[in-house]
């Protein structure tokens, strides 16, 4: 034990000579030297929080990162030398607020959207190409199975297609029924078309698509099952028309929006499979970290798919019955399909760092 009777860090000063000993604290001196910079940073951050970065002058813009780093350094020092609670809390708060200003989104919303659609979305889709292949295969397996089953026995129709989706079509439909009321039904009015559009969007297929994506969390098995099921429905419809010698017309009728809609469903399934893969095989990360790391990619794919569903709904609601010619329908359908493929395959490929 030190028996000294003096208070630490006591220095003799004018005040001490006058009978009042003065204490000089490292933390106080530290604060005196830097407080001006903190106040300046606080003012700048306050301006940005209220009015945005754009209104800062060039000089202020140059000062901001310098003052921010100085404040971070002050915080680190204060944590080791100071016990002033008010000071520590203030510096932590100031550092956080400045951090959010300095590392906030640096581009305008419009530019952000553009980067997203020009670079990030297509490259996310490209990165998931194997998942897309698997999802497509599952869908094709479903189509083949649905087609085979229904071809032999049309009783399968009622069990493969939910009544809401069948819309009166079934084993009892005749060729003329399908031809007049479905494939070449009269074009609806603009208002009806819009109603149809939204109805299609918030419909069975969207629901299954969302489930396909979300149930990727369950190791991807429901994803594949739902994908096969979507294929089954399509295959069953195909067989129904095949039996009535309407194959080509049916394919034209469905391709006008089907290339987009099936593309969207495949993308959603691929996103689901991606999530499943990252959870099942986390590599060197914890599962939740790995999900966050790659979840963004899956979410980007899902965003793209939701937009495709929108386009598909517009095509189905607005264009399908308006265009009453099978070759033209094929042309539009596959033309748009090719555009999607070109967009996802080539857009922003060269710009990647």
């Amino acid at each position: 034990m030190i028996e000294s009777m003096t208070v630490p860090d006591r220095r003799l000063s004018a005040a001490a000579i006058a009978g009042k000993p003065a204490l000089v604290l490292k933390s106080s001196e530290f604060r005196k030297g830097r407080e001006e910079g903190w106040r300046e940073l606080e003012t700048l951050v306050g301006h940005v929080e209220r009015r945005g970065v754009r209104l800062l002058s060039l000089y202020e813009l140059q000062r901001l990162p310098i003052l921010y780093r100085a404040a971070l350094s002050s915080l680190s020092v204060a944590r080791t030398i100071a016990l002033d609670r008010n000071l520590l809390l203030y510096l932590e708060n100031l550092a956080l607020r400045a951090f959010l200003v300095v590392y906030g989104p640096r581009i305008s919303p419009l530019e952000g959207m553009r980067t997203f659609f020009r670079l990030e979305l297509p490259s996310a889709v490209r990165a998931a190409r194997w998942h897309i292949v698997v999802a497509t295969l599952a869908l094709l397996v479903g189509v083949a199975a649905g087609f085979m089953l229904t071809l032999q026995d049309e009783a399968w129709l009622s069990s493969l297609i939910p009544s809401g989706l069948a819309g009166g079509r079934g084993a009892a439909s005749t060729r003329a029924d399908l031809y007049d009321k479905e494939l070449f039904a009269p074009s609806p009015s603009a208002v009806e078309a819009f109603g149809l559009f939204a109805n299609v969007l918030f419909s069975h297929n969207t629901l299954v698509g969302i489930m396909t994506f979300g149930l990727g969390l369950a190791a991807g098995i429901p994803t594949l099952m739902l994908n096969v099921y979507q294929g089954l429905t399509l295959g069953a419809f195909l067989a129904l028309h095949y039996n009535r010698d309407l194959t080509v017309d049916f394919l034209g009728w469905i391709s006008i929006h089907g290339t987009t809609e099936l593309g969207a469903l495949i993308l959603l399934a691929a996103g689901g499979l991606l999530i499943a893969e990252k959870i099942l095989f986390p590599g060197r990360y914890a599962r939740i970290d790995n999900l966050a790391l790659h979840g963004r990619q899956a979410a980007q794919i899902a965003v793209g798919a939701v937009l495709m569903l929108f386009v598909a709904a517009i095509l189905e609601g607005g264009l399908r019955q308006l265009v009453a010619s099978t070759p033209l329908r094929f042309g539009i359908g596959f033309g748009i399909g090719a555009l999607w493929i070109a967009y996802f395959s080539f857009c922003g490929r060269r710009a990647r760092p």
Partner: protein, 301 residues
């Protein structure tokens, strides 16, 4: 010493806010406070009101243009569509332009940040908001549009949807960072951001009382910061009474025999604070920091 001043906050505020640390790209850890469920709900409600009003303002002219030609179904469909557009543009625009805050979040004082302390990317903002569609609004739209299927019996589609939405509604409550589905996928989290002011330094140089090292060893950093908090309180009869109590306790503990005149209580405590802080800060620099009065002296000797 992050822990000590958090402990002091808890001592005064009673509750402890849930904190996380982010590491800035410069390598400094900064504590952040997670947003409460209540705060997030009220922020969302404010945004929701703005969004609904905007939707109605845009929706009414459309309906007037269409006139009586439309059926109920079409009216609902258009509402859903307009709602979809406004909602997503609104959230994405503000969270990018206002650095992670929508008007509702700004009123309540919330911010969206990157979970690991990186910059908040526009991609993350788009991802976390469009995921909301998948979590909530598309299923809700299907439920509203599909009301016709009620023919008795259990409708498995609607049941699945309800479970789906319920799961995402409780998701923030069952993970430790209170993340919504969108936060989970976009790697973001929502924090409460307050403003703190810097008060003047309590140490102002001249001291009237001096203390021995033996006396200063009585307390640790926690007691020092509690004393600091008391000294910073505005003058009132109540705070004066508390200061008198504290002064008595300190005098007893450090065996301060000379009486402290009533008009010098604040001065005495201030000087004690100064001396104690000088002592503890020096000890801390030597690696002998003391968290509170119960902490054992460092057994290095």
């Amino acid at each position: 010493m992050t822990l000590v001043h958090e402990r002091t906050s808890q001592f005064f505020e009673g509750v402890r806010r849930t904190r996380r640390e982010i590491i800035t790209p410069e390598g400094v850890s900064i504590p952040v406070e997670l947003a409460d469920y209540g705060e997030r709900l009220s922020a969302f409600l404010i945004d929701w009101v703005i969004w609904v009003v905007a939707t109605i303002v845009i929706y009414l002219p459309i309906i007037f243009l269409i006139g009586k030609a439309g059926s109920i179904l079409i009216a609902v469909s258009i509402a859903l569509f307009v709602g979809f557009l406004i909602r997503n543009l609104y959230f994405v625009y503000f969270e990018i332009a206002w650095r992670g805050a929508t008007p509702g979040k700004r009123v309540v004082g919330l911010r969206v940040i990157d979970r690991h302390g990186g910059p908040l990317l526009p991609t993350s903002v788009i991802a976390r908001n469009l995921t909301r569609e998948v979590e909530m609004f598309l299923p809700l739209g299907i439920l509203m549009a599909g009301g016709r299927a009620a023919e008795g019996g259990v409708d498995w589609e609607q049941l699945t949807l309800a479970i789906w939405m319920l799961f995402f509604a409780v998701l923030p409550a069952i993970n430790r960072d209170r993340m919504r589905g969108g936060d989970l996928i976009a790697g973001t989290m929502v924090i409460a951001l307050s403003k703190r002011a810097l008060s003047s330094d309590l140490v102002d140089g001249a001291v009237h009382f001096s203390f021995t090292e033996q006396q200063l060893r009585a307390y640790g950093a926690f007691e020092l910061q509690v004393l600091e908090e008391l000294l910073r309180r505005p003058d009132s009869a109540e705070s004066l009474r508390v200061l008198n109590d504290v002064c008595d306790k300190i005098c007893r503990r450090i065996n301060w025999t000379a009486p402290v005149p009533p008009n010098q209580v604040a001065l005495f405590l201030r000087d004690f604070y100064t001396a104690e802080r000088a002592f503890l800060e020096r000890e801390q620099l030597y690696g002998k920091g003391r968290a509170d009065k119960y902490a054992q002296p460092n057994p290095t000797k």
